[in-house]
């Protein structure tokens, strides 16, 4: 057979939480891979936010299943470039209302968060943001993520019903 694939594609442990991640809260570490257009993710988001965790959110847009996912993730990442807290505000906003995902709805969300709209528009279409989304996605692939929502907690990959899964894995 030909030369082996580049090592960036084979199995690897999930990356530990670093400064480049979106992470906040106090408590045990939980790394979640989410899709911002995933109904199951939206349904559990309020409960997940309320858990006593250091919650790290990574991008896992499944574009072929939900065509607006990459756009929503790029919007959240663009918000973060203006103000770190705006990442969480944008994710909250998108999950609270899954029915409005078109560009004008994203502009309205950005304005409500008092973001600079011109910069938001440039950033969400930038190569930097696209590369960030892909890096998160591929790290998830290498760690064995096959759908959303997924989480890593206490060294385990949890998929499906995350709230009871996290409560059990972390004895919350």
């Amino acid at each position: 057979m030909r030369s082996p694939p580049s090592p960036e594609l084979t199995s690897a442990a999930v990356p530990v939480i670093s400064e480049r991640d979106h992470a906040h809260g106090d408590g045990a570490d939980a790394i979640v891979y989410l899709d911002l257009a995933c109904p199951a993710c939206a349904a559990m988001w309020p409960e997940l936010r309320a858990l006593p965790l250091r919650l790290c959110v990574r991008h896992f847009p499944m574009a072929s299943k939900r065509s607006r996912s990459p756009v929503l993730h790029a919007a959240a990442e663009a918000a973060a470039l203006q103000r770190p807290g705006a990442f969480w505000d944008m994710v909250d906003s998108i999950y609270a209302d899954q029915g409005h995902q078109d560009d004008p709805h994203l502009w309205a969300r950005a304005e409500a968060l008092r973001l600079d709209l011109r910069r938001f528009e440039a950033d969400r279409r930038s190569m930097v943001v696209a590369a960030r989304l892909r890096a998160d996605f591929m790290a998830g692939i290498r760690a064995g993520v096959t759908g959303t929502p997924s989480a890593f907690a206490a060294g385990k990959l949890l998929q499906g019903e995350l709230i009871p899964g996290l409560a059990s894995a972390l004895a919350l």
């Binding site: 030909r2 694939p5 084979t10 692939i141 096959t146």
Partner: protein
């Protein structure tokens, strides 16, 4: 499940457009057969979506990925459109499951293929297989890249 090192069973199946596709069409190329239970089911949709997201990387390794289930060609056609899938989907519809059985990838109880991957080399020899413990478990795309590394 078919064993690595054995010759891959020949097949002729219609694809999502009703065109006949043969194993021998892939001679000289690596072929990854992805047997899956059902078009449109939630787990199968996740699995093929994930593979679609890394299809460029799989093809960059000289591997053609092909999905196989017992659904009909019209179902395959609609399923591909719904998910924007670019890999061919083959229909093991009639006689039902015959090719899946030949690869040891058929679940008699379910009446569908099990979720299974079969990597066939340029000479038509099976080099790697993976059968999910249950059809509800998706083999991650990382396992495909691990296999390509291991058999290179």
């Amino acid at each position: 499940m078919i064993e690595p090192g054995t010759k891959a069973p020949e097949f002729t199946l219609p694809n999502h457009r009703g065109e006949a596709v043969r194993l021998t069409d892939f001679a000289g190329r690596k072929l990854l057969l992805c047997f899956y239970p059902n078009d449109f089911s939630p787990v199968c949709s996740d699995q093929l979506s994930i593979y679609q997201e890394v299809l460029a990387e799989i093809r960059a390794e000289g591997v053609e990925l092909v999905g196989i289930s017992t659904d009909g060609t019209w179902s395959h056609n609609a399923f591909r459109k719904q998910l924007g899938l670019e890999m061919p989907l083959l229909s093991d519809f009639h006689p039902k499951g015959e090719v899946s059985r030949a690869y040891g990838a058929y679940l008699e109880d379910w009446g569908t293929p099990n979720r299974s991957l079969v990597l066939i080399d340029e000479d038509g020899i099976v080099r790697w297989v993976h059968a999910s413990p249950t059809p509800l478990e998706i083999p991650g795309a990382n396992l495909i890249f691990d296999a390509l590394t291991a058999v290179a």
